[in-house]
Point group: C2
Chain length 143, copies 2
DNA sequence: TTTATATCAGACCTTTTTGTCTTAATATAC
DNA sequence: GTATATTAAGACAAAAAGGTCTGATATAAA
């Protein structure tokens, strides 16, 4: 099965998107997130914990606790999230899996692929959470 | 870990590439392939078996047996191989993993992603094995 | 200060993917 | 026809990814 992001990463993107829709500073509980996003509770808990450890979210324990974005949403890009969960190997790894594939020693689709990979990368780096939230407020949005 | 193709699929692409470099009709043994490509013997055997079952390769048992392309190399595209091993879900699945993401009900990066996905798809469909082999005959090629 | 409500941490289980092994079937060459 | 080189098939093992559970810890509110 061809994938782009791992399931964990998809869940992370979804959760952060949801948090971006909340009023700044408001803490959202795992319970609310899993209910809205239909992600297994404990699995999401681990992902959020991870994002907190990596300084993308902040957490607070206790009643009325929960998670919130750690930084202003226009400083968090999609790439920050992807990198935190899945790493950034895709940005240099050969599509065909040749270990020594490089510019000097290319695989047969190296250059075509490099172009697309760069486009994907620059999308991830450019797109920030503020823009995502704006997009999500459009009437056709699903959440 | 963000991936595009599964390991199996990478190996399939590598193996088919290698076969494309051989004289038309020549049978290549698993042994030779694993030696050159450094892929685990039995694992590759299974992948080749699979590609044979899916009519992309032909096989012959016995001494001087092995595998060869089943069709003229300009009729086999990268997409044929990827589809056979990994399927074509990536061509319609939501990047963020939202189950009901679609044109009418888009995720926040739906449209940007659709553009890139289409480019990738059309590259896979356009690029055929003949072109790959031509590319591989260039001096800087690694095999 | 107590209690209820959260996250934190880590052990554990399940499924999928990757990889290995063994035996059978088959075709070639002698 | 027999020996040998090769793929076919399927069971098995190991590793990675996905998912669950439980108990500890922190904190806010009563």
């Amino acid at each position: 099965m061809s994938i782009i992001f791992s399931r964990q990463c998809e869940y992370a993107l979804q959760a952060v998107s949801y948090l971006a829709l909340q009023p700044a500073g408001k803490k959202t509980s795992i319970r609310e997130l899993t209910k809205k996003l239909k992600i297994p509770y404990h699995f999401l808990a681990k992902i959020l914990q991870d994002l907190t450890y990596k300084k993308l979210l902040v957490s607070q324990k206790g009643p009325s606790g929960g998670f919130a974005l750690a930084q202003s949403p226009d400083q968090i890009t999609l790439f920050h999230i992807v990198e935190a969960i899945d790493g950034s190997d895709f940005a240099h790894k050969c599509v065909m899996g040749f270990p020594e594939c490089s510019g000097k020693n290319p695989c047969s689709i190296h250059h075509q692929w490099a172009k697309m990979r760069d486009e994907i990368y620059s999308m991830l780096v450019t797109e920030n959470i503020t823009e995502m939230a704006r997009e999500m407020k459009k009437p056709e949005y699903r959440l």
